[in-house]
């Protein structure tokens, strides 16, 4: 059913730390592996060994270059590179759900996960049109819409050890830049992290109210700030002889 629940018991989602993501694509491929073998149709690849390889991925890592503006404190700021993983943000007001004509797309009442019931999906693609984030990809082999399930078949899976009941991307992330939890609970670790680090919505003006949050990169290149109060080192000597004198005096004191 494609009307959105008025509220969900929990708001499970991801917190992605842009300060820490090194852009290694581990989450991308782990996701591909788990979701090829599990929930729904496999994520297929077309022309995998040919001129135009193209497959279905539910999580992709972009890279952006950001050029800060010059300031008096930093007249020549260096450009920065930010790695940017992106998958379904499991929006509270998920436009992809309400546009679905068949009810295949839905948002779960118990945890807010947005899913596609593949047996009802006609592959019209409208949900992907409605998503501003590019979170949905039509599988070319299966003709159904694929998207991040937040590993709904892992996070409650009794066949997995408890510590593994997290999305595959979170479990695999080497830098620990991905966090999973209930963003509806202000006392959860992820909510605290969002509060501490000024977590942000992507495209807030789209009105989707994404559950997933992004932690912005911490300020960079602060050593370059002209007015920073970091003291420079005071010399004890300017040439070897003076240094040896200092050395003797210091050793005496030791």
């Amino acid at each position: 059913m494609t009307t959105l629940p008025t509220s969900t018991t929990r708001k499970l989602g991801l917190v992605i730390d842009l300060d820490t993501c090194v852009g290694c694509h581990a989450c991308v491929v782990s996701c591909k592996g788990w979701n090829t073998e599990n929930y729904g149709a496999p994520l297929s690849d077309q022309d995998p060994y040919g001129a135009d390889p193209s497959g279905t991925f539910l999580n992709r890592v972009h890279s952006y270059e950001v050029q800060p503006l010059a300031t008096s404190a930093m007249p020549h700021p260096a450009a920065q590179l930010v790695h940017f993983p992106k998958s379904c943000l499991h929006c509270e007001d998920a436009p992809c759900v309400t546009v679905c004509p068949t009810g295949a797309s839905y948002k779960r009442v118990e945890d807010g996960i947005v899913l596609v019931n593949e047996s009802d999906c006609i592959g019209c693609g409208l949900c992907a049109w409605a998503c501003p984030y590019g979170a949905r990809e039509m599988d070319a082999a299966e003709g159904v819409m694929k998207k991040c399930t937040l590993c709904v078949d892992r996070i409650y899976n009794d066949n997995l050890p408890e510590e593994d009941r997290v999305p595959a991307c979170v479990r695999t992330c080497p830098a620990g830049a991905r966090h999973f939890g209930d963003l509806g609970n202000p006392d959860s670790d992820v909510s605290k992290l969002v509060a501490e680090r000024d977590g942000m919505d992507l495209m807030p003006e789209q009105g989707t109210k994404p559950v997933n949050q992004y932690l912005p990169p911490r300020p960079r290149d602060t050593l370059d700030e002209v007015d920073v109060l970091a003291p420079l080192l005071d010399p004890v000597a300017e040439e070897p002889k003076g240094f040896l004198g200092w050395l003797d005096r210091t050793l005496e004191r030791l």
Binding site: P95, P101, G123, A128, A130, M203
Partner: protein, 290 residues
């Protein structure tokens, strides 16, 4: 957006078809018997043919019937319901005209309303998309309805109405384009909000997540050259609106009328190609497109 042939054909043809049905429902022209049959055949061929074409882009057309279920929230579902309702009502109405030589006027009015509603639901599929600022405007349903009514009038032989509506539709089209060209910039969505990095400085896409293509790029990132688009707009205006107007202004001939209808449909098809091809989906921002 990728200008998919199936969707261009669908919106062009079914828009015209439901337009004809609208006029037929109002009893314009007031025809019965085999003449009515001919008009209804054209209308159904366009409307149903367009609908059929739209199923070609489905991954699972055999499940298309499921699309009637979500009319509470989904414009696509509503379109399905409205189109079937329009076709059924107009079918009964048309059958009465053709076979019973009887015009059940209230049924016709209902059918006309449903035909118009169908066009409206189609337009709302696009007009609801916040992700495509060029589409997200009340002008989109106005345009779709104006074009549908004009095309319907043209095909239904309502010369005066057609001339007036073609002029109106042409004007709406121009307004729609003018507004559309600034829509993305006015939407407030840009790379800064897409990435949340705008507070640091100017954001530029450095490397895409994959060096190859993917569904998103194929479906949503279609770049049409500015000069090319301007040329196509002129063609769309000329064929879709101006030429039919000129032809209708000439003394009536079946050849001129047929040419006007064909010219209009070709022009509208070109404008619909532009409707998709020029539409900037905000997901393109993640790829640094536009």
């Amino acid at each position: 957006m990728h200008p998919a042939r199936s969707v261009i054909a669908f919106t062009t043809l079914s828009g015209a078809g439901f337009g004809v049905l609208f006029w037929l429902g109002l009893g314009l022209p007031d025809v019965t018997g085999w003449v009515a049959f001919a008009f209804f055949a054209v209308a159904y061929a366009l409307a149903a043919g367009g609908l059929l074409a739209s199923t070609f882009h489905l991954g699972h057309p055999e499940r298309a019937w499921k699309a009637f279920s979500q009319w509470r929230s989904s414009w696509l579902s509503r379109e399905g319901v409205a189109s079937v309702a329009a076709l059924v009502v107009m079918g009964v109405y048309g059958a009465a005209l053709v076979f019973l030589d009887t015009r059940i006027a209230p049924l016709g009015w209902l059918g006309a309303a449903l035909a118009l509603a169908t066009v409206y639901t189609t337009s709302m599929i696009y007009a609801q998309m916040r992700t495509v600022p060029r589409w997200k405007t009340p002008l989109t349903p106005v345009l779709f309805i104006a074009v549908s009514l004009a095309g319907g009038a043209l095909l239904a032989g309502q010369v005066t109405a057609a001339m007036a509506l073609l002029a109106v539709a042409g004007l709406v089209q121009v307004l729609w384009w003018m507004r559309g060209d600034g829509a993305l910039a006015a939407s407030g969505t840009d790379m800064a909000t897409a990435t949340g990095l705008g507070g640091i400085g100017h954001v530029r896409a450095f490397a895409p997540p994959h060096t190859g293509s993917n569904y998103l790029l194929r479906e949503f990132v279609f770049v049409v050259g500015r000069k090319h688009a301007a040329k196509l707009r002129m063609i769309a205006l000329a064929l879709g609106y101006a030429l039919p107007l000129v032809l209708l202004a000439l003394p009536f001939s079946h050849a001129a009328a047929a040419l006007a209808a064909i010219s209009h449909l070709v022009g509208i098809a070109v404008s619909r190609w532009l409707f998709f091809a020029e539409a900037e989906h905000v997901v393109g921002l993640y790829y640094g497109a536009r």
